[in-house]
Amino acid sequence: MSGTETKGWSRQQMADRLAAEFEDGWIVNLGVGIPTLCSNTDTGDRDVVFHSENGVIGYGPVLPEGQEDLHLVNAGGQNVSLRPGAAIVHHADSFAVIRSGRIDATVMGAYEAASNGDFANWKVAVNAKGGGIGGAMDLAACARRVFLLLEHTTRRGAPRLVRRCALPVTARRVVTLVATNYGLFKPEGEGFRVLELAPGLTLDEARAATGAPLAA
């Protein structure tokens, strides 16, 4: 999706808006794609520890070209920096952190986010062969809060915020917040509550692009 077609927030703005929800002392896991942009956000005096499922605890922004450490990547394979106090663990211990409920928020991309709290992000079509689960099912099932970051519609304009997922779900009844280029939304069963709309977007525009009721 090219930036010029996108309504509302840019990807970095979506990430920044969601990162504004992070609280001091939280441990936050950032998934592949748009979520990795959250580690570029300045969280001010809120100390947030970023966790990556490959066992990197306490990483910071992506490093500019030429300054990368090729032994250090985040979940998306980007060469990131480490913050003071970082620690490395192996994969089983990294998922021990996840499954034991120590991740305050996981931020993931998704194909569909449903108002009943289900979401789908591992299979591109119902009948697709294979899929890409990665750490998403562990994170979705076990993190204290599931934050989703996704474009509000598909390239063809079909809504990604829906009442029920059509695609195979990653986990059920777990989604806490959804940030899209249209704004910030909270699933509330049969519809979403609008917590904030991106500048220049009206509620009617958002409703027209959403597959579930939107409450202001």
């Binding site: 592949v32 794609g33 990556s52 499922e53 490959n54 066992g55 990197v56 070209e65 990368e68 450490d69 090729l70 032994h71 250090l72 990547v73 979940a75 998306g76 394979g77 060469n79 480490l82 490395i88 663990v89 192996h90 994969h91 089983a92 990294s94 998922f95 996840i98 499954r99 991309g109 992000n121 591992w122 299979k123 591109v124 079509a125 697709a128 062969k129 294979g130 899929g131 890409g132 689960i133 990665g134 750490g135 998403a136 099912m137 562990d138 099932a141 076990c142 195979p168 779900v169 990653t170 986990a171 059920r172």
Partner: protein
């Protein structure tokens, strides 16, 4: 004294791997991936393999030796991975057309479950319960059980015959250290395997030179070490680029 764990080259290290083996491959998005051992296994030609790994590779450029290449080379019966397809509809992994054509089997496993099944195999734990995947397609027809008011899936240990790993440092006793994100699956794959092959980035240390408190994988898990030569003979990670879409 037992014979040295240091092998002269990658070909020597992989020479005895028979057809039908189950092999775990370390690495996550580059770091810790045994590129040189995979290249040697491509040349060695063992067939009918079951490959356990986070991904089948091929999502980034420059492409390095990966499970997908073993599949393309007709060496693989089945893969056990947390990714068996790209997560972007517009991406198509090299592996995908073999999967779609039914030329290879795939078992798709959530990443934390994959890591824990390997650790379980290396810990004499035949099975355990996890909340991951409950209510999803991967749980269909599977055994579940309620603990503390919550459904959990029964998952089985995943033992492997061989683990192919990459580490930063090794000593003569086989003790390993990984650097930063290079660690990932490598320690649990070493635990899960009967025979462990490691390509090592730095010069082999004499026994006693590595701080016992700093060892990531104890030498008792490790059988064959090969020092990676400088490029171009040895394969070293390059800066990763997204694949063209």
């Amino acid at each position: 004294m037992p014979k040295s764990k240091l092998f002269a080259g990658f070909a020597e290290a992989v020479a005895g791997i028979p057809d039908g083996s189950t092999i775990a491959f370390g690495g996550f998005a580059g770091p810790g991936t045994p590129f040189n051992l995979i290249r040697a296994l491509l040349a060695q030609g063992a067939r009918n393999l079951t490959c356990v790994s986070n991904t089948t590779g091929g999502a980034h450029q420059p492409r390095m030796p990966d499970i997908g290449m073993l599949v393309e080379n007709g060496q693989v019966r089945k893969v056990v991975c947390s990714f068996t397809a790209a997560t972007r509809p517009t991406d198509v992994l090299p592996f995908a057309r073999f999967l779609e054509a039914g030329q290879v089997e795939a078992e798709l496993v959530p990443q934390g479950t994959l890591a824990e099944r390997l650790r379980a195999a290396g810990s004499g734990i035949p099975a355990f319960y996890t909340p991951t995947g409950v209510g999803t397609e991967i749980a269909e027809g599977r055994e579940t059980r309620n603990f503390n008011g919550r459904e959990h899936l029964l998952e089985h240990a995943l033992p492997v015959d061989y683990a192919l790993l990459r580490a930063c440092q090794a000593d003569e006793a086989g003790n390993l250290r990984y650097r930063l994100a290079q660690r990932n699956f490598n320690p649990v794959m070493a635990m899960a395997a009967r025979t462990v092959l490691v390509e090592v980035e730095e010069e082999l240390l004499p026994a006693g030179a590595m701080d016992p408190d700093a060892v990531h994988t104890p030498g008792i898990f490790v059988h064959r070490l090969v020092r990676i030569p400088p490029p171009p003979d040895g394969l070293w990670p390059a800066r990763r680029l997204e694949r063209a879409r």
